[in-house]
């Protein structure tokens, strides 16, 4: 099927209306306000209102709804970051991001693609609160990735693959992400929240906590990892199995039960479908 070229008048109308929709909102007065006075007179003339002020008011309805719907979508996609920042600050970041990268997909959730990286870049190296913000954005992005990933079939290693294990890599499943937190952010993510004010930044944990987040058929599963186990899984993500084991032996040489730990950690990883295969 071929699509005919739209008439020039329609393209022109859509361009004018699109500019109205995407006109950035004004945050300077402590509230999000449209800039209706900046709408082009040509766009206003498209509205059959008969009265200039009413034309702009009608266009402003669409302009505000465009932004509010997007802000709502981003708040839903990054609920932890929203709780940590509160609505006003979150929306400020979101508007900055959306002005740089207007969504172009039908799926509204994809409007948040790249927002976590945008927040991490903004938060780089600016104290404890900024570090928490970057960590929160990474956690929200981990949930987004896992919940949208298709769970691969269970990995059943073949004898041939296992014979080459030392020089092979375990391929992480797309439905799995590792999470590290310096503060109890996962609890904060699940906390009731009605929006507006930021939730207090929880105090730092005595030691960082590591988790693995896996998708399931209906939801997701969070499994805490021992620090050494988390370190081992990081090594496996970056190196061949042989190199990862060598590095582990070098750093954990004084651990007498290391072999037992490795066996248990890998067995647990297999039960959780952490890996989708082996690559050379």
């Amino acid at each position: 099927m071929t699509r005919s070229t739209p008439p020039a008048w329609l393209e022109s109308f859509q361009a004018r209306f699109s500019r109205v929709l995407r006109a950035p909102l004004d945050r300077s007065g402590g509230a999000l306000r449209d800039r209706r006075d900046d709408y082009s007179s040509e766009a206003c003339a498209d509205v059959a209102a008969g009265e200039p002020a009413l034309e702009r008011a009608r266009l402003a309805v669409y302009n505000r709804q465009y932004w509010f719907r997007l802000l709502d979508a981003l708040q839903r996609e990054l609920p932890l970051t929203h709780r940590l920042l509160g609505s006003w600050a979150f929306n400020g970041h979101a508007l900055g991001f959306l002005e740089q990268r207007a969504p172009a997909q039908r799926d509204l959730a994809t409007a948040a693609d790249g927002f976590a990286a945008f927040l991490e870049a903004r938060a780089a190296g600016e104290g404890a609160a900024a570090r928490a913000l970057a960590q929160a954005a990474r956690i929200d992005e981990a949930f987004r990735s896992v919940l949208r990933a298709a769970e691969p079939p269970p990995f059943v290693p073949t004898a041939e693959a296992l014979a080459q294990l030392e020089s092979a890599r375990l391929v992480r499943s797309p439905a799995v992400r590792f999470i590290e937190e310096d503060r109890p952010l996962l609890e904060l993510r699940a906390a009731p929240y009605e929006g507006e004010r930021p939730l207090p930044l929880p105090p730092a944990l005595p030691a960082p906590r590591s988790w693995v987040l896996c998708s399931t058929a209906e939801s997701y599963r969070l499994v805490p990892l021992e620090p050494a186990q988390a370190r081992f899984f990081e090594l496996l993500a970056a190196h061949t199995v042989g190199h990862a084991l060598s590095l582990l032996e070098r750093t954990q040489a004084s651990e007498p039960a290391l072999a037992g730990h490795v066996q248990r950690w890998l067995a647990e990883g297999m039960r959780l479908n952490l890996w989708s295969g082996i690559s050379r």
């Binding site: 290693p157 294990l165 939801s219 599963r221 042989g242 890998l266 067995a267 297999m270 039960r271």
Partner: protein
């Protein structure tokens, strides 16, 4: 990185063993616990009791004592990975079961691997 020494044979064998022992746990396969129950290996809840004072810390300690692995469930039942025991934080029911997918609702589970 290529100058790294090879891992010890003990550690490599442990890795192989871990990958193999963890490879099979699904609801269609019978577990030793289910077999021992004499029901032909059908997945089932084998015990249930109320534990209104259960906490995640106590559950984790009980799970560690059995060399198990704790899982947190955000939503309702049917999502535990494998045999073990599960705590339903809405009804306070602690259940023991033989297979995956047998936790009752939100809360946490302890996966207790076979001794092999």
């Amino acid at each position: 990185m290529n100058d790294l020494p090879k891992p010890s044979r003990v550690l490599l064998s442990a890795a192989l063993s871990g990958l193999l022992s963890g490879a099979a746990c699904d609801s269609s396969s019978s577990s030793p616990a289910a077999e021992a129950h004499g029901d032909g290996g059908a997945p089932r809840i084998t015990a249930s009791r109320l534990e209104p004072d259960m906490t995640l810390e106590r559950f984790t300690a009980d799970c560690d004592a059995q060399r198990g692995m704790v899982e947190l469930h955000a939503h309702c039942g049917g999502v535990n990975t494998c045999q073990g025991f599960s705590y339903d934080d809405a009804t306070h029911a602690l259940t023991e079961h033989t297979c995956r997918g047998l936790n009752t609702c939100s809360g946490y589970s302890c996966v207790v691997p076979d001794e092999s």
